[in-house]
Symmetry: C2
């Protein structure tokens, strides 16, 4: 199984970041502006990009420490069976966000694309918390010309 790993450090208490990982309003500040369904464990979050996009089931929540999602449905096809974990760790004056998108069947070009794109969105999360403005879709940074 292949996986994507990232880590960013954000100058903010974990409570501020946790909110941006667990509410529709918070998630829409950094990933995509069209989000519904965020909630407690068992909630199905619908992330939409021009109408289509993935659903994730909320599987783990430890307030201000951990957020776990499991992909649900069939879009995108290569995400079926994958899981996402955000771990928050406070070190001195910053909170590290340790991100893992795991359980990919193989290390494909599409996985590589998603890896770079996740970095862009995690830096969008960082900016959303630190500067008040992230770059969620459709204002996200483009990593290619497709």
């Amino acid at each position: 199984m292949a996986e994507i790993n990232h880590q960013v450090g954000i100058k903010a208490p974990p409570e501020k970041i946790y909110e941006l990982l667990t509410t529709n309003e918070g998630l829409s500040k950094w990933w995509t502006n069209d989000i519904s369904g965020a909630g407690e464990v068992g909630a199905l979050i619908q992330f939409r990009f021009n109408g289509g996009g993935p659903d994730f089931l909320v599987t783990k929540l430890i307030p201000n420490k951990l957020v776990g999602w499991k992909h649900s449905g069939n879009i995108p096809e290569l995400w079926v069976g994958t899981e996402i974990l955000f771990e928050l760790k406070v070190v001195e004056t910053q909170t590290f966000v340790r991100f893992v998108h795991s359980n990919w069947k193989e290390s494909s070009d599409f996985m590589a694309h998603c890896s770079t794109k996740w970095a862009v969105f995690l830096l969008s999360l960082k900016d959303a918390v630190e500067k008040g403005t992230g770059k969620p879709f459709p204002n996200d940074i483009h990593i290619d010309h497709s």
Copy 2:
């Protein structure tokens, strides 16, 4: 073994990108401004960040298609034994850069940090080619406050 995967698409012919992966002047436009030793297979490239940094042995070169490096020396410790591959693939009007940093002993927090940082540098490579100005160290985008 763990690995880092990325992919960016650059609106330029592969020749322009290959030059930025194989010459001191080209590499200094996007990764770090202090580079020496770039050359043919067998060359030892020294990448320096405030004096210290990794060495990479050039192991594979297929003009305008592939660049392979093997880490040499002991800095950083967790990079010992790792390898880096850049593959260039032309699709219509863009050239995709498929990046793999492989052979990590484990998926550590440091590897996750490097994964995010590689995304930043590959976007710096993209900007260097497309806009003429990248963000090599010490002008690189910071992903934490360490």
